[in-house]
Structure formats: C-alpha cells, structure tokens
C-alpha cells in the first residue's frame, strides 16, 4: 500500500494532535512514528530530534494561539473584546491541553524571535488594550498583568490547583470583570 509521504509540517500537525491526546510531556518520537506507520529513525530525515519537534510544536501552538485570539477580538473593543479574548484563552487552555503546554515549552530565544509567533501573541494583547486608554509604559505593565492573570488561572485550573467548592466558571467571570475594571481605571490606581 502506498505510504503517505512524510513532511515536517505533517509531522508537527500530528504531533500537536498527539500532544492534546496524551499530554505534551508524553509526546514521543516512537509514538509519532507509529502514527505514521514508520520507524522512529525515519523521522530524523525531517526533524533534528525530539527537542526540535517539541520546539516546532511550541511555535505552531503559539501561532494558532495568536490566530484564535486575534479572531476573538476582531471587530470588538473594550469589555466585549476582553471578554471574548479571555474566554477564548481559557477554552484553548482547557480544550487543547497539549498545545497549551507546548506554548510554555522553553524555546531558544533566537529561534523564538526568528519565528514571529511569540511577538504575534503579544501584538494581539496590545491590540486588545487599544480599547482602553493606556500609553507606554502602562500598556506594557497592563499586558503583563493581563497575561499573568489569564495564564495563571488557566494553568492552575489545568493542574488541579483549585480545590475550593465553588464554580470555576463563576470565579473566572469575576476575574475577567476585575480585569476590565482595572484596565478602565488604570491611571486612577
């Protein structure tokens, strides 16, 4: 039977899906090779090794992140944009756990900078803040606060860090409303 030709792109896509299924830290070359009906050594024609694969998946996930968040805030501003942004962020984190973990995989700074993916995510954050009245350096601080809060909540939720007997959805809404308030009154605080 004719085997589908391997390409780095197809491998990275399949690896990202695999990571969502079994967890980013269980992503393995053998498992990926098995999925393509190929020996693990064969992957080295297309990838430099496991570290390379992990970094590629990380960059891919970062790019998808930027796309989804960008789409969420397109045509919206202020509270509506923040709310859509935040909900998209959290649903990606919980719905695509492998990709989410991948976004936190450390990628060598040069490589991260070379692909523009990380910058795109930050760019979307700044776009979101356009609906609020912030200028530098407040905007940078605000972006950092925003990312910290959304990321921290998603991460703690994902790793089971929240144990209290109260709806996470409700707390999440409260967090988003609080962020809205902060961004609105930033200069007064």
């Amino acid at each position: 039977m004719p085997r589908t030709r391997l390409t780095p792109d197809a491998l990275v896509s399949a690896a990202a899906d695999l990571a969502d299924e079994i967890g980013f830290d269980h992503l393995t070359l053998s498992a990926l090779a098995k999925r393509f009906g190929v020996r693990d050594a064969s992957l080295y024609t297309h990838l430099r090794g496991l570290a390379d694969l992990q970094e590629r998946v990380a960059l891919r996930a970062l790019g998808e992140w930027a796309d989804a968040l960008g789409a969420a805030i397109a045509g919206r501003s202020g509270h509506a944009a923040l709310s859509a942004f935040a909900d998209t962020y959290r649903s990606l984190a919980t719905g695509r756990p492998g990709r989410y973990a991948a976004t936190r995989h450390p990628v060598p700074p040069e490589r991260l900078a070379a692909s523009g993916e990380a910058a795109r995510v930050v760019e979307v954050c700044y776009a979101l803040l356009r609906g609020y009245d912030l200028s530098e350096p407040d905007a940078t601080d605000a972006v950092r606060l925003l990312r910290s809060t959304l990321h921290g909540f998603s991460d703690l939720e994902a790793t089971g860090g929240f144990t209290a007997d109260r709806s996470l959805d409700t707390s999440w809404r409260r967090v988003v409303e609080t962020l809205h308030h902060i961004l609105t009154d930033w200069s007064k605080i």
Copy 2:
C-alpha cells in the same frame, strides 16, 4: 568507607536540591542514586519509583512554600502583608525553580488531600485576606485571582514569556499595587 544510610526523607531533600540545579523535569532516579553513590535499583527500597519521588518532592515543595509564605505574612496585614507575600512568592519561584516546578506537578487528589500541604498554602492565602474585608464567596474568588496573578507572572517570567524592554521588577510592583487596590475595593467592583 561507611556509606550514609539512605532514608526517604534524605532522598527527597536531595532530589529537591537536584531539581533546583538541573530542572524538575530532568530529575532522574539515576542522577539521584549517583549523588548517593548507590545503584538506581537500590532506591526502590525507599521509594516506589520515579512517580513516587516526583510526588514526594512536590508535596515537600508545597510545604516549604506554605512555611515561607506564612512566615512572610506573620505579624503583618493589609498592604504590608500582601507585599511581603508577593515578593516571597516570586523570589521562591525564581530562586528555587526546581521546587517551583514541583509544586505544579500533578499529584493524585487523594494523596494531595492526605498530606495537608496544598490546604496549608490555601490557608495562608486566606490568612492574608483577613487584612482585607472579604467574606465568602468573595474570599474564594479573591484567593483565586491572587494566586492566578502571582503564579502567572512567575511562570511567564520563568519560561521567558516576557520579552518587552521594561524592568520586570517595576511591572511586578505595579501588579502588586493593583492587587492591593482590587482587594481593598473588592465589593465596589
């Protein structure tokens, strides 16, 4: 030469130190055994295996976390307590990266509940909030917001998520001041 007798406790302590040196995800039974001049198989007398070690280190780190944060807020309240709490949190995260990563290692819920460590951390958070005027369910939401923000910032900082050319210390101070403001005016938001 007389070999120091192994104990689970000594192993976990050494493992935590090792994790700080080489990263929690590079913590390995072989490396730990080597540090004690012993074969890896010998560790199985004291530990059930790698997963067991990782979970023990996680619980140990959580306990140390609770101790340090508790000490930071002892005798302080309100802004002073929050500031000390936050700074301790961040310095632990950056100064003890292996232990910090360990605190995020997923531990089976029963085991986590059995050791009281996770509850102690949450307890310290609630103690911190005593200086602010919050009652349930606001307190739970506030704890979640607080932990999310501090954790998110620390994690993004640790994984190189912040790239803008602005002092992280400055942004951190701003984040802490913002949290103080939110906690103070919680009911008004």
